[in-house]
Amino acid sequence: MRSLILRMFLATASGAWLLLCAGPAGAQPAQATGCETCHRNEASESLSAPARDFALADVHRDRGFTCVNCHGGDPNATDKAAAKAPATGFRGKPSGQAVIAVCSNCHSDAALMRKYAPRQRVDQAAEYATSVHGQQLAKGDTKVATCVSCHGAHGVRLVSDAQSPVYPLNVATTCTKCHGDAEHMKGYTLNGGPLPTDQGEKYAKSVHHAAMVERSDLSAPTCNDCHGNHGAAPPGVDAIANVCGTCHTVFATKFALSTHAAIFERGCVECHNNHDILEPTDAMVGTDEKALCSTCHSEGDNGHKAAMAMRAGIEKLKAAISHSEEQVAAVENAGIEMGDEALTVREAANHLTVARTELHAFDPAAVQAVLDEGLGLTTKVDEAAAAAQSELSFRRTGLAISLAAILLVVVALQLKIRTLKPHA
């Protein structure tokens, strides 16, 4: 008898486990279950909201998953006690590590995920374990973010869904729900001091935020692009140049060659900041008060001389390009075609951009070589514009002479007419 009961229990338990692991047979939206029938009518918002949210829009529901897949239980049971009996595998509301376990039950299963999202990674749980969130959770800190903190628990949407909290445009808002809350972050430290909570405000001032929000460039970085998403952690000091270099490859390559690469403790951040990365300007280079170089370099040292030379060279090319543009515009406006010269000015502007890039190696000779090429182009344009101006002047002189000749003829004719005798 005992053996029979044991077999029945094992059969029930293993059935429940198979249900949890295997997922739904088909990828059809799941129908309302017994769980939802009761939970929708619960007076408590915390008990009714999950059923309501799951019914509205949920990527799991759309693929046939139901409450049981995460919470266990028996949706066909007619009373609460039977629906949540231990034999049903009921686990209630998971929290902490249990959330990671429930989600990774499917999301770490490559064979299962291949049926629903073949391109999706299945190492989120492994990455999470390496994150600050995961490490804190392992220490027993239950305030830290788990899967549901960012993705939601019910009403989960695809990352590509614009209403998802992890859609690129929404990531900063999602992260700052905790990281912008000083009360929530109380007790966490960074470099011996309290962990700042102004990252969101600073990011909102940055070029990256402007690119993403104002210019709708979803490839622009938000929090997870630098910190990682599932493995979220501040980039290490040694990693900053690499992290920035994932997009700014040329700058990273040049910077790696520079003397500053070994000196700057925080790499790119030393000049450009981390969260409040502003539009870089030429004024950042040089030796005046606004220039960043002068925070470390003083008059007479090599860095000071290099900064002064590079800034002067850049300003010279900028002035030359501006002058050439004016010359080309003036000549074109007078009716002489200057299309080739306009393209050459554009090429000189390319050299200015390349020089600004080259500057990150902090080698004045290399910067000057690029600037000289640009100056050579503007000189050619100026020569062509001067020749065109000369041609224009020649044409105008010719016009003046021909007009004078016509006027002379008119006056002469008038005088001649006066001398003619009238007919009798």
């Binding site: 700014h248 490859t249 406006n333 009716g335 200057m338 393209l343 554009r346 390319n350 007009l403």
Partner: protein
């Protein structure tokens, strides 16, 4: 009593005076019609550049397969690419990142911006580096007798 001998009263104009006025106005108008264009030639108004809608890049035979060429489209550069299979494609050669001029990379069959290592595929899509959006595409048509076709690039 002829009309010319008719005595003039107050407010009437002699025929000769009337003709002088008409001739004077005609002379002034004619002089203005000559002088105004002359004035505008010497002092041209600030004009907006006329939009270029199409250009002839050259003979098709001049472009070898798996190559790219920068051609002038108005006062801006366009890149004409002859694909390895002989087909033509053209895009604005202005990188969507910081306006540098892009070029064709035959070894990887990509469009490359040297300024910040931006890469586009041969459909003009930004695939790597900082460019935020694809290159603007132009239409390419071949015009003329077989073997003598001209490559015409035009706005789509």
């Amino acid at each position: 009593m002829s009309a010319s001998d008719r005595p003039s009263g107050p407010g009437t104009i002699q025929r000769r005076s009337f003709l002088d006025i008409v001739l004077g106005l005609g002379f002034v108008s004619t002089a203005a019609s000559f002088l105004y264009p002359l004035w505008r030639y010497l002092n041209p108004p600030a004009t907006v550049e006329a939009a270029t809608n199409s250009v002839i890049a050259g003979k098709a035979a001049e472009f070898r397969p798996n190559s790219g060429a920068i051609v002038k489209f108005g006062s801006k550069p366009a890149i004409l690419i002859r694909m390895p299979d002989g087909q033509f494609r053209a895009y604005s050669a202005i990188c969507t990142h910081l306006d540098c001029t892009v070029q064709y990379k035959g070894d990887t069959s990509q469009i490359w911006c040297a300024c910040h290592n931006g890469l586009y595929d041969l459909a003009g899509n930004n695939v790597s580096g900082p460019p935020p959006r694809p290159l603007d595409a132009f239409a390419v048509n071949l015009r003329g007798e077989p073997g003598q076709e001209e490559v015409v690039i035009s706005r789509t």
